[in-house]
Amino acid sequence: MITVLFFAQLREQLQCDKLQLDDYPQTVAELRAMLGKKSPLWSELLVSDTALAAVNQTISHDQVSLNSGDEVAFFPPVTGG
């Protein structure tokens, strides 16, 4: 199982802050594609757009592989400071 978190406008637009997936693909890219099948909105925000991904709290590129217990997060470019 992996946990998937969403933050900021991504969380608001998807109306989802957390998913737990028993079945998950091998990479971040494949996870984007799998979640994109939920609806055109999910596809737009996770596949076409610039949502960043973090795996286990480290910003990660799309080829990073996923393992059971991982925490994956998707979020927009950060605006702190």
């Binding site: 978190l5 933050f7 900021a8 406008q9 973090a54 709290q57 480290t58 910003i59 997060a73 979020f75 927009p76 470019p77 950060v78 605006t79 702190g80 400071g81």
Partner: protein, 151 residues
């Protein structure tokens, strides 16, 4: 050994308190550079009354510690403090504090600015502005990305 302090909190912070804390027992500190960022009315025309700051608990602390660690490997530092607030903030309130101490002023200036530039682009915080016309997520600036790449 650099003394690190990283805190995420809703409460306000005191520059003076943190300044005294980094100096405590550090007779070798010759240079202290501090940065404070405040809520300002920074959007064209819209009347900003405040901010809501969201963050990613756990990752935020990790990201800030990583940034301070990188700074301490690039420059000779004695102490570094990063405090970032989250939650609801009003206009003119303090958002973020970075304090760096070093024997050398150049190192202290560079490290403090480096920490802010990477905080702006790497640490998972998101600002939502409260204005007279509703709430709007702040859009990340490409200028911040470009600035971080210059280090």
């Amino acid at each position: 050994m650099t003394k690190f302090t990283v805190r995420i909190q809703e409460a306000d912070f005191s520059l003076e308190h943190e300044y005294q804390a980094v100096l405590a027992g550090k007779a070798e500190a010759g240079a202290v550079v501090s940065f404070v960022g405040l809520v300002r009315d920074f959007n064209d025309g819209r009347n900003v009354t405040g901010l809501k700051l969201e963050h990613y608990p756990g990752m935020t602390e990790k990201a800030l510690n990583d940034i301070v660690q990188q700074a301490s490997e690039r420059w000779q530092l004695q102490a570094a403090t990063v405090i970032h607030r989250v939650g609801q903030l009003s206009l003119a309130e303090q958002i973020v504090l970075v304090i760096v101490t070093s024997a050398h002023r150049g190192d202290a200036f560079d490290a403090c600015e480096f920490i802010m530039d990477f905080l702006k682009t790497q640490a998972p915080f998101w600002k939502k502005e409260t204005t007279d016309n509703g709430e709007f997520w702040v859009v990340a600036k490409s200028a911040d990305q470009d600035k971080a790449k210059t280090w």
